[in-house]
């Protein structure tokens, strides 16, 4: 019996979510007095995971797995779980993690608890806390099956260092046959993605028009942040759909979320609620966002944002 974690990498590099799921797996293994095994696919340096408690790392190096394919990747995880007699499997909640996890659950006949936000509150019965109702509530879910797949919500457990002297083991799974083939990938390069960003700078209709986004992009650049927008702004075509955050858009679970000229409709707040610290800048002190935010500035974005950019530049330079 062991805890198996899938640490995903892109172009060989781990994302922060990989360190978070390994940290989580370590914690669960301790709770169960079990051992932790991590599986990686084409990662350049899997020894990085020792820092977060990975005692044993299965490394898969296979050119036919160089592009993500949900069925192929799910099969690798399933084979690793069988090999290691894993009863708990942990996967992140990235777009790819959410794509492959249901396949793993069926393949292993494991119950799947997605959106899990904390370590098990109880081992018997096995109980985890999960997000529900679009971040408006949590459920305490009891998993009764022998095998359990946990989808860890991003930025929920955190990254915890726990240095161990680990070992790598080469693993050569069979590559599954998939009827889905990647033809091309179109990526906006040179910008921080909303999924990866520690900070997200988001703006709404208060900006009055797409021509005014220059200062939003500049503020984001100063903070190393991703840019995002509210639903009306993407529906109006001022900004691309990929920037829409909120209930039917992208979820945000950043450390810092700055909302500029966004009133704070319930659907918007649901999508960004998982962010740790929220700042609102709005002319209307009655805007609902002020009830959801940690810090607020009542003021005109066209005056506040340029000043904030100058002050942040000075702060960063100091």
């Amino acid at each position: 019996m062991s805890v198996l974690v899938f640490a995903d990498s892109t172009d060989g590099k781990f994302k922060k979510t990989a360190f978070e799921v390994v940290s989580y797996g370590k914690k669960v293994a301790e709770q169960l007095a079990s051992n932790l095994v991590v599986v990686t696919i084409n990662a350049t340096d899997a020894t990085e995971l020792y820092t977060y408690g990975a005692e044993k790392v299965l490394t898969v190096s296979n050119d036919s797995l160089s592009t993500f394919n949900a069925k192929e990747y799910a099969s690798v995880i399933e084979q690793a779980a069988v090999k290691e007699s894993a009863t708990i499997i942990v996967v992140d909640s990235s777009i790819n993690g959410l794509y492959l996890s249901p396949l793993v659950a069926v393949g292993l006949e494991a119950a799947y608890a997605s959106n899990t936000v904390s370590a098990p509150s109880n081992i018997n019965p096995f109980t985890v806390k999960r997000k529900a109702f679009s971040n408006k509530a949590f459920s305490n879910t009891v998993i009764s099956s022998e095998k359990k797949l946990i989808g860890l919500a991003k930025n929920s457990f955190g990254i915890h260092e726990n240095m161990v002297s680990g070992a790598l083991e080469s693993f050569e799974p069979t590559v599954a046959v998939s009827g889905v083939k990647s033809e091309s990938i179109e990526r906006v390069t040179g910008t921080v993605t909303i999924a990866d960003a520690d900070t997200v700078v988001s703006a709404g209709r208060g900006l009055k028009g797409p021509e005014n986004w220059g200062m939003i992009e500049e503020l984001a650049a100063v903070l190393g942040a991703a840019t995002a927008c509210s639903k009306p702004v993407s529906d109006l075509g001022w900004r691309p759909h990929g920037e829409h955050v909120g209930q039917t858009g992208k979820p945000v679970a950043s450390n810092l979320y700055i909302a500029i000229g966004i009133s704070g409709a319930i659907q918007h707040l649901a999508g960004i609620n998982a962010s740790k610290v929220k700042v609102v800048i709005n002319t209307d002190p009655e805007a609902p966002f002020f009830k959801a935010a940690d810090y607020g500035v009542v003021g005109d974005a066209f005056e506040v944002i340029p000043k904030l950019i100058e002050k942040l530049k000075a702060f960063k330079a100091a």
Binding site: A70, I95, L98, P102, L103, V106, A111, Y112, A113, S114, N115, T127, K129, K131, F133, S134, K136, A137, F138, N140, T141, V142, S144, S145, G151, G179, V180, K181, S182, E183, S184, I185, E186, R187, V188, T193, T199, D235, G242, Q247, T248, G249, L256, Q267, N273, K276, V279, V280, K291, A293, D294, Y295, G296, V298, D300, K307, L308, K311, L312, F315
Partner: protein, 248 residues
């Protein structure tokens, strides 16, 4: 082409979320239920396939009698017929297993389902269903074209999109982009009248058992009041974000 669209019956996105019976049940009192927004995008795309490519569109829901109003709305939008599987949808795998039985019995070519539901947001059912019936599967789908048995689909990835080629039979986990917000349809009077006469078949469940259960619900801890910073004193904001919140 036979299309099955999976429809979840969920609280309207503006609903206040409360619990009852010692925080073990969702309080439906005063809550308006709607077609899950992610499923509505899929249903609208199915209507396009019906009108342009002669597809037959069936909608299905796993749930109790109260969900039939939502299925009737899907029929009013233009689906040809509806199926309700009469079991409480307590667990993602249970729902997927019930849907798998429908898919196998109905020899569907394309199954469209929202990538998640607006209530439990599990993001489980489309992938589990695809796995159970051994169909191809594209999740987070923002574009789909079907030509014969060949399918070109785009899915959202971090910072962009990926174009995929695949084939029927296929399960899609769809989201906004598969159609745009402006393409969504409001049922008209004629559609509503016709929907009353369209077949809605109720099937008993196959007896799948749930492997998860919800012991209790809780709401996020109440938030402290917002700290307001004067627009002329942005140094204070920077200081708070740096020293207090420690996020810059």
């Amino acid at each position: 082409m036979k299309i099955l669209v999976c429809i979840s019956h969920v609280p309207d996105t503006t609903s206040k979320i409360n619990f009852t019976n010692n925080d073990t049940e969702f309080d439906k009192n005063g809550v308006q239920f709607v077609i899950n927004p992610y499923d509505e995008f899929c249903l609208t795309r199915a209507m396009w396939f019906k009108e342009k490519q002669g597809a037959k569109v069936t909608v299905v829901n796993v749930g109790g009698l109260e969900t039939e109003t939502t299925l009737r709305k899907a029929l009013a939008i233009g689906a040809d017929d509806a199926i309700r599987i009469n079991i409480n949808p307590t667990d993602g795998l249970l729902v997927a297993k019930e849907l798998a039985a429908v898919v196998k019995a109905g020899s569907y070519d394309l199954v469209l389902a929202g990538k998640e539901s607006a209530d439990y947001n599990g993001q489980m059912v489309p992938g589990m269903l695809a796995s159970l019936v051994d169909f191809n599967f594209v999740n987070g789908c923002v574009e789909i074209e079907v030509a014969g048995a060949n399918v070109t689909a785009k899915r959202e990835i971090d910072g962009g999109t990926e174009t995929l080629s695949t084939s029927l039979p296929l399960v899609i986990g769809g989201q906004k982009g598969i159609v745009e917000e402006k393409d969504l349809r409001i049922p008209n009077m004629r559609g509503i009248m016709m929907a009353r006469k369209k077949p809605l078949q109720v099937s008993e469940a196959t007896g799948s058992e749930a492997s998860t259960s919800i012991a209790s619900f809780e709401k996020p801890a109440p938030k402290g009041a917002v700290k307001l910073v004067d627009a002329d004193n942005l140094d204070e904001l920077i200081s708070l974000l740096h020293n207090e919140a420690k996020v810059i």
